[in-house]
Amino acid sequence: MQARLIHCAAAFLPGIPMSSSTLYDKVWDAHVVGQRADGQTMIYIDRHLLHEVTSPQAFEGLKLAGRQPWRIAANLATPDHNVPTDNRAAGIDGITDLIAREQVVTLDNNCREYGITQFDILDPRQGIVHVIGPEQGATLPGMTIVCGDSHTSTHGAFAALAQGIGTSDVEHVLATQCLVQSKAGNFSVEVDGHLPDGLSAKDLVLAIIGRIGTAGATGHTIEYRGSAIRALTMEGRMTLCNMSIEAGARAGMVAVDDTTLEYLRDRPFAPVGENWQAAEQYWRTLVSDDAATFDQELRIDAGSLVPQITWGTSPEMVIGVDAATPDPAAAPDAQAADGIQRALDYMGLGASQPIQGVGLDRIFIGSCTNSRIEDLRAAAAIVKGHKVAGNIKQALVVPGSGLVKAQAEREGLADIFLAAGFEWRSAGCSMCLAMNPDRLQPEERCASTSNRNFEGRQGHGGRTHLVGPAMAAAAAVAGHFVDVREVA
């Protein structure tokens, strides 16, 4: 085909003022390799993260076509979805599910064959791919980052353009270091005011999804802006950007500031010396210009928010802790009423039922949304000196990486969880999607710090309520949902 390409490399040079560009525009423009005649663009990819589930078919395709990876050093791999969270000293032999084991072994083999850096199952740096990228400084501002996982949006917290891709695109990026796509629209979510005590970035992002819906930002890249975003730590920003995909946006971003730079300094993959200085000078430009315009805008007052809990089977089915489930009879049309009724039935809840007091079976603290050290600290602060309620069958804490786990143990958090009756596990995706042995049984109800409450997500017939870490911890102690503001 005659895909006409126009060379655009000169258009992005740092220092050339583009006074009305958004952050997304700037990062996009810096990576344009060529423009195809119909508007599709080839963009260069700086960092490619790989895990065991969505990469094997891509490597196989590469081999069948006799192709080589374009730039080995751009790739970083770790197994996370399938790995068991106990008995980790056994390494791969500890994976009792033979099909899952084959997948992890296949990642090992592919990384070895091509010389791709992998933090394997025994490496202390192994963890959820979206936790280890930032932790290692392998996620840097201004980068384009892809991974065969929709929660790649997490890395946008660093002013990176980070997107989830399918397996065909994993193969495409391995082979060409490029992604071919159309540019998305710009969506500004501006959050001002102060998040009340007891609330976290999780409550904020759930409230945003509740406001705009799961398709609210489809076809757009969200930029989170405003004083409440500036006040968030990097870990809070990661939680926020992580769930952009749950609002339909393939990517969410936050501009660079001192918080970003302080987080990255001295991380293993971060630049040093003159390279750091040159990088910092460029990174400081990664903010939307004052005159930038957005295709869509949403404003939220952080001070008006209350802790959030999902009641249904889509992240947009969310309410404040002081509210009740909706009544299908009050829905605007028959189709909406049908959707609410189906979700209530699946969740085993009634119409107009207050969410506080809903009893729970399991607690899951973990996932790429909420498994970092600050999440564990927030949960431990609530749990300290208490016991998990008698009706809770299992309360799991699954740190996001081996390094998070080690740090939490040094800080005494693990002892707090263990003393309260929580199980303290090793890093992985675990019960967020239940590909490994950690899962719900049919009709079991879980307070989960993960990102999706889809039917069966945490186990066949399981009922998931998404909450922040402090709310999950408070629910573990009470045995049912409570308002963390009244506990803390």
Binding site: F12, G34, M42, V53, Q118, Q177, V180, R250, M435, H460
Partner: protein, 224 residues
């Protein structure tokens, strides 16, 4: 990828919004390292009453007769009709592989989630966006009379209804070209290798820190 031109086929109406990829193909089937073997487990949690596992065939499972794909009237469906935001959630391309292997060639909905939409084109599954009013009409037609066929003509970019009305749809020109000709996306991009190399050279000059990996991170972890 097989070239895609026209599909004349039966429509199965899946009357739900926000159908996520966890429903299209549940996670327990993602452990496979192959691209095939997913069709039997398409919509597994909705098609079957018992929990599915890799290796269990449909004839040893308990069917959910309430679910539209199990309705005997729609057993030849090649076109899936759905409500808004089809394919939201996980990026798993297995969802597209499962639909194709089951026999679905076209999905018609008022809107799609971005990653799923993009994944369709890499595999020869055609996602078509139509106006809500037409979708509503198609639901009524398909629910009333399962025996009707639609004609999806990709070169002409039309969907022809049983009453011979022709509804146009839009599609990106490059994507259409690739589908109609069954082209290899990677081959197309590699034909522009010089362009990528030139970009990379200029880029290395302006952003050298992206190309200098610290030495110790080139190695495997201490326990490896």
């Amino acid at each position: 990828m097989n070239p895609f031109s026209t599909v004349t086929g039966q429509v199965v109406p899946l009357d739900r919004a926000n159908v996520d990829t966890d429903q299209i193909i549940p996670k327990q089937f993602l452990k496979s390292i192959r691209r095939t073997g997913f069709g039997d487990n398409l919509f597994d949690g909705w098609r079957f009453l018992d929990e599915g596992e890799i290796g269990r065939t449909p004839n040893e499972r308990r069917l959910n007769h309430e679910f539209v794909l199990n309705d005997p009237r729609y057993q030849d469906a090649q076109i899936l009709l759905a409500r808004e935001n089809f394919g939201c959630g996980s990026s798993r391309e297995h969802a597209v592989w499962a639909l194709l292997e089951y026999g679905i060639r076209v999905v018609i909905a008022p809107s799609f989630a971005d990653i799923f939409f993009s994944n369709c084109f890499k595999n020869g599954l055609l996602p078509i966006v139509l106006e809500e009013e037409i979708i509503e009409e198609l639901f009524q037609i398909a629910q009333r009379n399962a025996a009707i066929d639609l004609v999806v003509d990709l070169p002409a970019q039309t969907v022809t209804l049983p009453d011979h009305r022709s509804v146009p749809f839009t599609i990106d020109a490059n994507r259409k070209h690739s589908l109609v000709n069954g082209l290899d996306d990677i081959g197309l991009t590699l034909a522009e290798s010089d362009q990528i190399e030139r970009f990379e050279e200029a880029y290395k000059q302006t952003m050298p820190w992206l190309f200098e990996q610290p030495a110790e991170t080139d190695q495997k972890g201490p326990n490896s």
